[in-house]
Amino acid sequence: MSKFASRGRLAAMLCVGAAVCAVSAAAFAQRATQPPAKGAIPDLASVDFAWLAMGADWRDPPAGSGHGPIKPDPDHPFHSNVDGPGQVTIRLGDTKDPVLKPWAAAQMLASNEEAISGKRAVPFAAQARCWPGGVPGQLLYPAEPFYFIQSPKQVWMIWQRDHMVRRIFLTDKHSESVTPSWFGESIGHYENGDTLVVDTIGLSTKNSYVDNFRTPHTEKEHVVERFKLSADGKMLEASVVVDDPDTFNAPLHMVQRWRKVKNTLLETVCAENNADFFHQNLFPLPEAEKADF
């Protein structure tokens, strides 16, 4: 058998009905959605693994980074249902944090009082009530993983819970004018072979908070996220800077972490079985009064 025929036959054998394929590195780089050379960009995307958040609250940034995330009100410490024994409490933010502009502190205070009074026994959390988490709030979704897809021009982040999608365009300039939207406009690039840097503007404000303390923002919000893969590839850490001169007196710096889990993407639909079973006046789910079409 000639060398050509045997190569062709091998290619046919490998391509048909199997997960194996003989492609040249160049063709692969051109059309597939993985990096052109191992180590050039972080390996974040796979059908076999995902990223599971290690907590639903922001971690402190390294010492000296600047103002950290908003903390719980010291008079109402937060005890989560994974914090060990003790009465679970709700999240009430520290409205006295001097980084907050007066309007933001007032709004958070009203939200806290609404919860304390029992008027809305469980305060709003985007993930629980099927609203987009926005940027950077979506990063705080725990319990269900998120997945990356990486292509040469774009990165997608897909959260399993309600299949929320963030899109990051691997370009160096934002659009001339950006209409505000739930996840804004994200542009990004890779650094050092282990980091994805994302810059986001154009974030709408409806039901949008930067954390689970209902800390608000305006349309001027500008977020920079640096997603860094650990050396062993098993952990992802995002260093986040939230800059909004109309909401905060200084940028906020915070950190979130995920661990790699061997999960395939399942379909989970937030609006299912999401009624107000215990009559807590939960925040309404997104609902269309009239059919969209």
Partner: protein, 242 residues
């Protein structure tokens, strides 16, 4: 052979790359590239059968359809796909008048992301359907497995729950429905999806419906939240906004 030569000459890097390719089931050189953003130019609330005519109901299917239609009319059945924006299911999601994008990735998967209700379909490439998951995890949009036959992406889907309609009029299906889509470019700027529905409890035979989409890489998929204002659909014939 060529790939072996690459392996021995280019050293560990290329070998590792090829190994990763091999293990992860990346797109074959022979596979067509269907990636891009697509948008229908027409919308039909009622299924249009290939070959014309009406849906070939069994007695049970006809009864289920009449029950759905009556319930939708008097409000006792809620169209949750439109009211709470739960996923539309197949083939209804294929008919929807919002753009969608096809991405060949991550390796071993084709991902279709719809603007409508930010629905995501993951199509496992070159693998059989996970039969145990079809019963354990019935899904609105089912479970999908795909492979290329020449220029055509063939997608088999099953493991549907019974919470969706086939179309906006309430055409019914059971959780035993199985579908096969044949998706291919019919021109440089047009994508065709012909879907075959197999659901013998409600339909006396398999039948097809067909969708054609225009490639629109000038668009970006937008965020969609139930009940909020969305993009202008006046370019899609047949859309009536109540």
């Amino acid at each position: 052979m060529e790939y072996l030569r690459v392996r021995t000459r280019a050293g560990l890097g290329a070998a590792a790359l090829l190994a990763a390719t091999v293990l992860s089931g990346a797109a074959c050189k022979a596979d067509a590239d269907l990636s891009g953003i697509y948008w229908a130019t027409e919308y039909h609330p009622k299924i249009v059968l290939v070959g014309g005519g009406e849906l070939p109901f069994t007695a049970a299917g006809k009864a289920a359809y009449e029950k759905n239609m009556a319930g939708l009319k008097d409000g006792s059945i809620v169209d949750n796909a439109r009211k709470f924006c739960v996923p539309d299911g197949l083939p209804r999601v294929l008919a929807n008048p919002y753009p969608f994008e096809i991405v060949h990735g991550p390796p071993g998967q084709t991902t279709i992301m719809y603007e409508l209700s930010h629905q995501v379909r993951t199509i496992a490439m070159n693998k059989p359907l996970p039969e145990e998951d079809l019963i354990a995890f019935p899904a609105y949009n089912g479970h999908s497995a795909g492979h290329f036959e020449g220029d055509t992406l063939v997608v088999e889907s099953a493991g549907f729950n019974e919470k969706t309609f086939l179309d906006a009029t309430g055409a019914p299906h059971t959780d035993e429905m199985r579908t096969v889509e044949r998706i291919r470019k019919i021109s440089p700027t047009q994508l065709e999806d012909v879907i075959t529905i197999h659901d013998p409890e409600y339909y006396t035979r398999d039948w097809q419906t067909r969708f054609v989409y225009t490639l629109r890489n000038d668009l970006r998929i937008e965020d969609y939240v139930c009940g909020e204002k969305h993009r202008d659909l006046s370019s899609v014939a047949g859309v009536r906004r109540p």
